[in-house]
């Protein structure tokens, strides 16, 4: 178990170094930051000075190591566009994105899993067929379109919910939360639904197909032959056996939700990291882009690690095989 965690952590470090390399290459290949920073009027001397100051006259490899060392300490340099430390900018917007993403993920799970179980158990009912058809729409409609449609219906026509922003937020130390005010919560609804829609339908269809698969297995037939109640069979035996693939996909989706919040944040003018990223792209603000890239990769890596650990909680075959294998020295 500990060996496994250590191995996965080492892999995670390798992945982060690779991502760091890609992020760092942005500086070298996307635009010329020096030209941008110097503006219209500059002399060869002022340019040389700036290049030296930024360390751009150093060899590529040295620059890369510098970048990695700084990044590891959370130092991603200064935003070209806003002239403030990148880490500060990201940290300011991190709560907005995380709150939105977690809400969306919770919503997707809370709705997707029960619907998946229902449609898996009642394959023939009209409600299942309806849900499956609707879920196809959810999977195929692009997120921005769903967002715009929701704004149209609930903000423009009905006027029930705000169409943009986070509402009033409360600061808890450096973390700003929208959970504590009514306007914050109201503002959270539409973006969460928009962001959750795709994952929700995906989870529902996944749980359904896994349920159908598991319900065909011999141990479910045998559980019926033992006379167990339907509840025990469906939830105790069947649902639990669908969890490993569901955890995998949900975990990966959570990373996806955080990353693809870009679109939803843009549609709803949500002051999160994704929105910041889009603004930075249009301004070629490379330090922000690079930091965002690294941060998202970090989330993915951490989530994958947690997912792997969750397997151990769910599936005893993994737990014991490893332990036995270690014990017997295989």
């Amino acid at each position: 178990m500990i060996a496994f965690v250590i191995r996965r952590l080492l892999q995670a470090v390798l992945v982060m170094m690779a991502v760091g390399f890609v992020a760092f290459s942005l500086f070298a290949y996307v635009g010329d930051p020096v030209a941008i920073m110097l503006g219209q009027d500059f002399t060869a001397e002022s340019r040389r000075l700036l290049v030296h100051e930024l360390g751009l006259d150093q060899p590529f490899f040295v620059q890369y190591v510098h970048f990695l060392l700084n990044a590891a300490q959370g130092n991603f340099g200064i935003s070209y566009r806003l002239a403030r430390p990148v880490s500060e900018l990201l940290l300011e917007r991190l709560p907005a994105t995380l709150e939105l993403s977690l809400c969306a993920a919770a919503l997707a799970l809370a709705v997707g899993v029960p619907l998946g179980v229902y449609t898996g158990l009642n394959r023939e009912s009209w409600l299942s067929r309806l849900l499956l058809t609707v879920s196809l729409v959810g999977v195929s409609l692009p997120t921005f379109l769903i967002g715009i449609l929701l704004i149209l219906v609930f903000s423009v026509v009905l006027g029930w919910l705000p169409s943009f922003g986070r509402g009033t937020t409360v600061a808890l130390g450096w973390w700003t939360t929208g959970f504590l005010t009514e306007s914050g919560l109201r503002a959270l609804i539409l973006p969460s639904v928009t962001l959750a829609m795709f994952q929700m339908t995906l989870i529902m269809r996944l749980v359904r197909s896994e349920m159908l698969e598991v319900l065909r297995t011999d141990y479910i037939k045998f559980a019926r032959a033992r006379g167990l109640s339907d509840r025990a069979i469906n939830f105790g035996h069947a649902l639990k056996n669908t969890l490993v693939p569901v955890i995998t996909i949900t975990g990966l989706q959570l990373g996806g939700i955080i990353a693809f919040a870009i679109v939803t944040e843009t549609v709803f003018q949500w002051p999160g990291m994704g929105f910041l990223f889009i603004q930075s792209v249009s301004a070629a603000d490379i330090p922000v882009m690079a930091a965002y890239l690294v941060l998202i990769a970090f989330f993915f890596v951490m989530i994958n690690l947690v997912v792997d650990l969750l397997y151990y909680g769910v599936d005893p075959r993994l737990r014991i095989d490893r332990a036995a294998a270690a014990g017997h020295g295989h």
Binding site: D218, K221, R224, H237, V314, D315
Partner: protein
């Protein structure tokens, strides 16, 4: 409970018919099958795959896979009809009164729960006892089925047991509420040959001790000869012959049974080729007119091709073959 010869019938199956409605017409998997099982009796059911033996077992425990359904006849347990019981009532019969053992012990157990948990769960479903008492009973059951170090093994997961040990756990599960009948569908087929005999001996011993009757579905005549009191030979969804196992083995009456017996190698006899039955069992969608076996039967005559034979009683055996019709109407 003693094994005194008991004339009362525990299970009665009368004219059972199992159908599978398909897009192109209906397949009849079990057709007009009737038999009884007495308390404590072991009835072997043999036949090739597709003969309807597993379907008969599934119909009895009320677990036919849709779209399969019981289309006719009745099934009685202790005189009470159990075919067509509402799901919830049938659920209380399953496990409590009729236990089941399936073919593949590797897949019969839920991989995510310990065997102890699965046993306790089954016991508590059917018997009114405390969790602690149920666990003690589970432990006792594991010891009964011969699991070494049961106190430790009770908390192990299925994948930590070998195939033979898992089948023992399955047997413990089938017995956990002390049912009066066990439907064992090919309980040894998936096991190593060396383990098969152990499992058969175990089932036989436990059922004798508990007075449990067994419907033992298998295609292995050797297992039947070893275990069963009576044997039913099935062919293309019907019973060809049913009678005491000694009679059927030593004096097979139905030409199909004769063929089956001829295909078993006998130890100590001079070599030479084993007899075999030419051809294959018809598909359910193409069962020939008259006796289903007639195209493969060396003794078939005109009537066999025209009329379906009804069971005729010869000594202690019922045989569905026109050869034994005392009124040789059209016989050549």
């Amino acid at each position: 409970m003693t094994m005194a010869p008991d004339r009362t019938k525990l299970l009665e199956v009368r004219n059972l018919r199992v159908e599978f409605p398909m897009r192109r017409g209906t397949l009849v998997a079990v057709d007009d099958v009737s038999f009884d099982i007495a308390p404590g009796e072991v009835l072997g059911v043999v036949g090739e795959s597709g003969a309807g033996k597993s379907m008969t077992g599934a119909a009895i425990i009320g677990l036919l896979e849709p779209p399969g359904r019981i289309a006719g006849g009745e099934i009685r347990l202790d005189g009470r009809r159990i075919d067509g019981l509402p799901y919830e009532k049938m659920r209380r019969v399953r496990g409590r009164e009729i236990g089941a053992i399936f073919q593949d012990p590797l897949t019969s157990l839920n991989p995510l729960y310990t065997v102890g948990r699965q046993l306790v769960e089954t016991i508590l479903t059917h018997l009114d006892m405390s969790e602690k008492a149920a666990r003690e009973r589970a432990l006792q059951l594991l010891q009964d089925v011969g699991i070494p170090a049961a106190e430790r093994r009770i908390d192990h997961y299925p994948h930590q047991f070998s195939g033979g040990m898992r089948q023992r756990v399955v047997i413990a599960l089938a017995l956990s509420a002390n049912p009066r009948l066990i439907v064992a569908d090919e309980p040894t087929t998936a096991l190593d040959v060396s383990i098969q005999a152990q499992i058969i001996t175990l089932i036989k011993r436990l059922c004798r001790e508990h007075g449990t009757a067994v419907m033992l579905v298998t295609h292995d005549m050797g297992v039947i000869a070893e275990t069963a009191d009576r044997v039913a030979v099935m062919y293309a969804g019907r019973i060809a012959e049913i009678g005491p196992v000694r009679d059927v083995i030593s004096r097979a009456r139905h030409p199909y049974t004769e063929g089956l017996m001829g295909s078993i190698p006998k130890i100590g006899e001079a070599g030479g080729r084993l007899a075999q039955i030419d051809g294959a069992m018809p598909r359910l969608s193409a069962i020939p007119k008259g006796c289903a076996f007639n195209p493969r039967c060396a003794k078939a005559f005109e009537r066999c091709r025209a009329e379906r034979p009804e069971p005729l009683t010869v000594d202690a055996t019922d045989v569905a073959c026109w050869l034994y019709d005392p009124a040789p109407a059209v016989r050549r």
